[in-house]
Amino acid sequence: MLQILFDALSLGSLYALGALGIALIFGVMRLVNFAHGDVIAFCVFALLWPSTDAMAIVFAGQLPWYLLVPFVLLCGAGLSVLCEIIVFRRFRQANPATMMIASFALGFVIRYFLLMLFSSRPKSISLLPALSQPVEIFGARLPLLQLITIVTTMVILIGLTLFMRQTRFGLEMRAAAENFSMARMLGVRANRVIMGAFALSGALAGAIALIFGSQTGTLDIQMGASIMLMAFIATVIGGLGSLGGAVLAGFLLGAASVIMQVMLPIDARPFRDAFVYGAVILVLLFRPQGLIAARGTKERV
């Protein structure tokens, strides 16, 4: 029972972090960033030395953890800000569909760049091996990593909440998310806020990359895509633009996946994801604006 709870929480953490990364950018720019998954993949591959061999040549992955973590977070933030400066800045005035297509294209560019450097073969790597030992809590054996995942996510979420509520930058970002043009008129600098949002979202991608990479132990160019899809859905179920909603929906999706894995009859288990997506459609039917609707996204007549 406890095992299920922890499984759900740790899967939910991944989805919640991903959803938060997408929601942050959507809040300030109304951009649904499909390149997010590829930023995650880029962060993982930043640990390796470029080579097309099957054996992974670990480069930055050998750093001690107190250097490794900031390195990956910085990688994500750097790439994300770079994307903003090079690509998305030119699309500020474009309509959402065009921006979405631009972000697909950017995702393709990042993925094929990785493909060129690393080839499409999955690579195995043991990242932070000390974390995979099991620990015993209340009679359940859990991998230490799962605990750390959950704790880290909690710390990140609390830190982000404090940042958003207490600092001036957080205030500006929330103002921009609510009504961007009004915030600009009141002296919020648009570029700074948008770049801040991209940097935060990239750092979150880095965090996911670290957690996911050490959980699975294999690196694959496609690995960002599945998380991105779920995170994207979580963002919408939670209410686009609402950060709290994105996190809540991320945890709910994680819980739904794990619970269905346990509850469904054996024959239906391969179709678990189909049931999860079906549940998504149901939720949308009853709450099309999301679980926690953000203010300012309502359509006006």
Binding site: V32, A97, T98, M100, I101, F104, A105, F108, Y112, L115, M116, A225, L229, F232, I233, V236, I237, L240, P270, F271, R272, D273, A274, Y277, G278, V280, I281, L284, L285, P288, Q289, G290, E299, V301
Partner: protein
């Protein structure tokens, strides 16, 4: 906005004078040039291809025609309703597998897909019959999904169609006995002549045109531009969207069936995010709201992709050969 106003006007006019038939034919006569010109463009491409007589080029042009069908299918729903759908490639998947079920040699089917019902195991149809049935099958699926999904609008509708695509993909990549799971289904008869694909593309273009000038299509476009005003004028938005969804689902199914016959192999992952993004970008590059935009977008982007492939292989100019470094495709 001018187009929106004139559309709203013409909707109002046709509603007010529903008895006056000639007005409708006048609209048809005024707009028929678009599908005719597009068909001529496609015919010209086909004729040039046949005249060059090169086999790889033939295959490329078949791919282009299949994509024209898919993008026109997307346009019927996305262009007219303004709702971005990520799920239409799901119908392509349904169509392709339906074509596979109907046309593979029964002996092979018994071995590779034993879970099919007996009557389906025994049937073997010519490809054009299977393509029509595949389109109807996809339309039926679109009707069922659409009844639920069309109540949503905006980004929620887009996500719901995404969820639908993922559902179809999950089912088809796991239902071992009926779809062969993630392994490829082989043995679909390959059609190498260009004409069936050309006919498919032209039929798709004409269906899209007929839908766009029909009462339902006009009402839907009015609802796209001014949802509140359209609803107030008595347009039942979910119903008009459902009509477009079913029509476009049928076209996507037709495209899927022809795609299956053009490559002879189907896997669930052929019909997933990659194809979705490529077809969507073709539609957006050409111009989301127009039929010609969709077709021209396909031709342009396909030409670009083909051009890059040629550059990759190397083009000899005089003494030297120019080639792009490997790994830059897409």
């Amino acid at each position: 906005m001018g187009a929106a106003a004139s559309l709203a006007n013409s909707t109002a006019a046709s509603a007010a004078a529903a008895e006056r038939k000639p007005a409708r034919f006048a609209l048809a006569r005024r707009t028929i040039l678009t599908p005719v010109l597009l068909s001529l463009l496609l015919l010209a491409i086909a004729l040039i291809t046949v005249m060059t007589g090169s086999r790889p080029f033939n295959q490329t042009v078949i791919d282009v025609f299949v994509r024209v069908i898919l993008v026109v299918g997307l346009y019927i729903f996305i262009g007219n309703s303004g709702v971005l759908s990520f799920g239409h490639i799901g119908f392509t998947c349904l169509g392709a597998y339906a074509a596979a079920w109907l046309t593979i040699n029964p002996m092979m089917k018994r071995g590779s897909l034993p879970g099919l019902p007996e009557w389906l195991l025994a049937t073997r149809l010519p490809y054009w019959q299977s393509a029509v049935l595949a389109a109807l099958f996809a339309a039926l699926a679109a009707l069922i999904f659409g009844r639920v999904l069309m109540r949503l609008s905006g980004i929620a509708a887009s996500i719901a169609t995404f969820a639908m695509l993922a559902m179809i993909n999950t089912v088809y990549s796991n239902w071992e006995s009926v779809t062969g799971a993630t392994s490829s289904v082989v043995g679909i008869p390959i059609v190498r002549t260009i004409w069936p694909y050309l006919i498919g593309a032209v039929v798709a273009v004409f269906i899209a045109w007929a839908h766009a000038i029909s009462r339902s299509g006009l009402a839907l476009r009015a609802a796209r531009d001014e949802p509140t005003a359209a609803a107030a004028s008595g347009v039942d938005i979910p119903r008009e969207r459902l009509v477009a969804f079913v029509v476009s689902g049928a076209i996507m199914g037709l495209g899927g069936a022809l795609m299956a016959h053009s490559i002879g192999v189907v896997t669930p992952d052929t019909f997933y995010l990659g194809l979705t993004f490529i077809t969507l970008s073709m539609l957006v590059v050409g111009g989301m709201g127009s039929l010609s935009g969709g077709v021209v977008g396909v031709v342009l982007l396909s030409a670009l992709i083909q051009g890059l492939r040629w550059l990759e292989a190397g083009v000899s100019l005089g003494e030297s050969t120019f080639a792009l470094p490997k790994g830059f495709r897409k």
